[in-house]
Symmetry: D3
Subunit: 238 residues, 6 copies
């Protein structure tokens, strides 16, 4: 029995609030249950030094948690003077995942930065962030297309992510904090619109996992991502 009473293959309610803030070219509040992440897409007319003059663009991400997004207050990274290893790892993951969706040659010499800031955390912040960031990116690209700044859509596929894990011996979908903190195995999956893998990151927390367990988790995640992607599309059609 999951603490939230969900079935093993049941994700939390997923909600997208578009236009959550008004300045960014894309701005989406994504909720996976009680996990809430504000994802903004900012378009800037320049590229990092290593891409100067190559005629292509860049997509990058930054991730942060508000100090009291969690059960106990965490030190503010800006005050500590550096981003922790977990933060860097997650924002590298988000950036890679989103770049996999886009033809960087087709966005011109622009940088699009996805800022994913966790307002409230209840497990699965990185998968919510990737999922919401894709919607914010879609918004920003649509705005560039509408304004005639781009004439060809550079987004090649739809990206979403979900976590899966083994909780009390059972493979479950979309772990919340209560499950995540005691899961034996934790895996984050990022997939594209054609059901192919972008990232597979599995970690044996409690004990190692067999190939059979891995297969079960991959199945569960693939099904979960399909319905998350349907929710993304529905949000964009509104």
């Amino acid at each position: 029995m999951r603490p939230s009473q969900r079935r093993p293959d049941e994700a939390r309610p997923i909600r997208f609030t578009r236009g959550f803030t008004r300045h960014a070219e894309g701005s989406v509040l994504v909720e996976f249950g009680d996990t809430r992440v504000l994802c903004t897409a900012s378009v800037e007319p320049r590229v990092p030094p290593f891409l100067k003059g190559k005629g292509q663009g860049w997509i990058t991400a930054e991730y942060g948690m508000l100090p009291r997004s969690t059960g106990e207050r965490m030190p503010r990274e800006a005050a500590r003077g550096k981003q922790g290893g977990r933060t860097l790892e997650i924002q590298r993951l988000i950036g890679r995942a989103l770049r996999a969706a886009v033809d960087l040659n087709a966005i011109g010499e622009r940088t699009i930065t996805l800022d994913c800031d966790v307002l409230q955390a209840d497990g699965g912040t990185r998968t919510a962030a990737i999922t919401g960031a894709w919607v914010a990116l879609r918004e920003a690209i649509d705005r560039l297309l509408a304004a005639g700044e781009l004439t060809v859509d550079p987004i090649e596929t739809q990206i979403a992510a979900v976590s899966v894990g083994v909780y009390q011996g059972v493979p479950v979908l979309d772990l919340d904090y209560a499950e995540d903190s005691s899961a034996e195995t934790d895996m984050n999956l990022v997939m594209d619109g054609e059901g192919r893998f972008i990232e597979v990151q599995g970690t044996a927390e409690g004990h190692p996992f067999t190939r059979a367990e891995l297969d079960a988790l991959l199945e569960l995640g693939a099904a979960g991502i399909r319905s998350i992607q349907a929710a993304q599309r529905a949000a964009l059609e509104v």
Copy 2:
């Protein structure tokens, strides 16, 4: 004529959303028009080193802006590796203002941290932050009182803040970004529940201001704060 069509002595609509996030002991989203600041109060059972063993508590504040809370994306302070001078100045101001409201001896050996994170900026973020932080602090103290952890209310007065300034030669209340960025004089006022001053910070941006202008601004601000304090009380009565 103000860009927002407001009268000179008219503040923006002010709104408090209590319980905006669920983990913190106090959590309030405060809106001064399009300026939105999430204020959380976190209670922790320890004090900074300089207060150890003195039997009193401490109140402190931290301030941050989400990178795309503004019209152009600002670099993330956590990624730059330090908080800027403006950030430090604002969070010192918030902390001082809130400490003025509380009998630190009456909260025991606890630290209450007010985190003020700007989700969307349109001028006046520091005055909104102080105003919202007091409501979050009130929530947190009420929770301690309700739980019997405190028996006497340590809050001695009500704190609110507002900006005033001279815009196109006219003293105006509660400047938004369009006014703030071209104001000749900018002043932030923090006052208590008895109409006394906690902080007066006036800066001549464009040209110096006379004593008469200063007096007009102080009047305007005092009236504005009275109605903001009424809004604070109304929010707490809900």
Copy 3:
């Protein structure tokens, strides 16, 4: 009775030693009683990135305290690896105050840096720093005028500063450390040569202050600044 036996409206003896060091374009040791601050003005033929190519100049300030300028040794900020919030706040204030005196378009693409280093502290270091920095700036500009590098005087007004506060219930001028550390209210005033306000920064340390107290402090400060400005002019006439 003030600890120094001064009358409430009596400033400490103020002294300017011009040419205190020989390399800088302006170099003044300013003393407000036992508070001694070395103010140098350095002229450099370049501007910060945000002003490149705009044909105007920039004035900025940096502030520091020698580790043993105070009663107890303070950690050296260079060794700690960062400037504290108080330091940043003060140097931002000094820079704003001095910029208010100068037509930046009239100094060409130059940066003038005012370094204010406290050799000995006894309260009021920021107001002494602003007051001395204006004299150092005047020296540096005079040198540029004398050398024909400038033909029109870019200094539009005379800047000085002083602190006022409520000590044991009485408004007093130019607080020393003994008064400052136990004052109920502390206010720093920066004014121009025409008696107008550049900065008003009042903080209720012990208890909030009424409008009447504020008015009394403003009167006291305005009178004090007039005599400090006379001392500045006298020093420059030597």
Copy 4:
């Protein structure tokens, strides 16, 4: 055809030089072809603050690359003043992998630090580091057992790692730099002595990968790790 002329399922020659340096409790130079990583295990009689008084130990890892271990010189992280995101990500991975092998309650209040320093890089430094670090850890634990400081072997399983990827459409084992830098998919596998997974980290570099490709990579990696583990055991028997 692979640049190195290897068959798709052929790892590079793997070599362990035990006792490579003399001070550390465990010290192994591990070579995967031209990739050479010095792995040392340091035993210290203390634990991090979060484990104080809990009677258990801790295993952690640090990773670094000598500036000229690579084809072009990289800036030294100590001189830049921080470890990069890739470094932090790798050392977190090494630490997690090694902790999965050990009963932390059985090592007492000790910290064992695995330092993995890349002397020469040719792809696969993180998998070589994990593989070598396990041998260094084994050496350090054997020394504690021999000295009677431990009476029960806390190592519960054997850990090794390898990379697999899709190079020019073909799944290959143990990618070198020439392959790694142009691989379409890159996956790092960490497995235990029973053939179970500790970590699975797959990233689509060029294009997303299908479930069938993923299965092929998992098979290839599992076989590769079996022979790497045989090499580890052989090195320890010498």
Copy 5:
């Protein structure tokens, strides 16, 4: 001919102003010609962690240059966020030199910090700093002896320093900036009251130096230090 018209074996005028600032236990402005360094000695009743509970004290030094102590303004180290290599090297040298003068067991569990801040630089700041710091240390120890906090004098010898170098082929004493910046060889000597060496630091700037040149420099320096030590004693007798 030296730029300053001095004879090769002639030091600059050396002056000590005792009690230059009032808070520190020792406070001396030392001048070697136009080089002016403020040296303060601060006594604190604690020792660094590595000495806790050993019953002995510690002597350490910190060094800094005011930004405009030099011909061109140097960036402020506190603003840059770190002390440069030259600064660290010099303050390590000052600390070692002073520790050589003192029986650390005889000062009890105290730390004495020598802060050497260059107000104006004209070459030889490190040797002036060592020379002045010893006088400030002497003042601080005398105060402890006078107050009965120490009963035995822990200072075992007199420390002074001077630079020597080869300028236009001629060995010269106490180089000023004009000489220092074009010297072929530069050597700093620290000696005790018995004419023995504490530190010898010679660097071939322009071309290597022979043993004969080295011998000449050592002679010149030893004679120079004897007269500097006479000046130190004279200053203390006042």
Copy 6:
């Protein structure tokens, strides 16, 4: 009797392993007994900002110790976020010493970086580093000459270094850790191929040293360096 049973004038066995790693233009493992330092020379086609457009090159050095190169593990400088004073001092020394060997005008607008990383420490790491770095530099320059990128040899002399010290009252050559940690006096000498001094750095650790002791140490070191230079030449002839 020395702990290592060596005669007072006997250096440890010195060994150079050329081509120790394959990417760098010069790569030498130098061993002074159990002290092992990997020295690489990296040639890059650019110069630091202060040399831009002057048509000359630059030589610089960086130094590091692997965390467990020593008897007790030292914190990793990259993880601490800064290089310590000792590290900065040593790498400045190595850089100066190597620049003394080379005509910087003759290497064109190139920077050659000598990275000296201590794999195992047993005293004398800085002198081993200088000695090995010269061989690595020689390799790198020979490669540039062979490739026709340089036509005239810019190396003007041969550089080597050794430590000397007074151990139990006796001057000894090339101190190992056991001697170094209890030596009364420690001196590092850097000399050129003509027997002239590049650097002389002597420090009285335990007690000051007389001129006679200094002379004895200089003799001992000069003889030691002659044989080290013979070993350098022999290594290059292989």
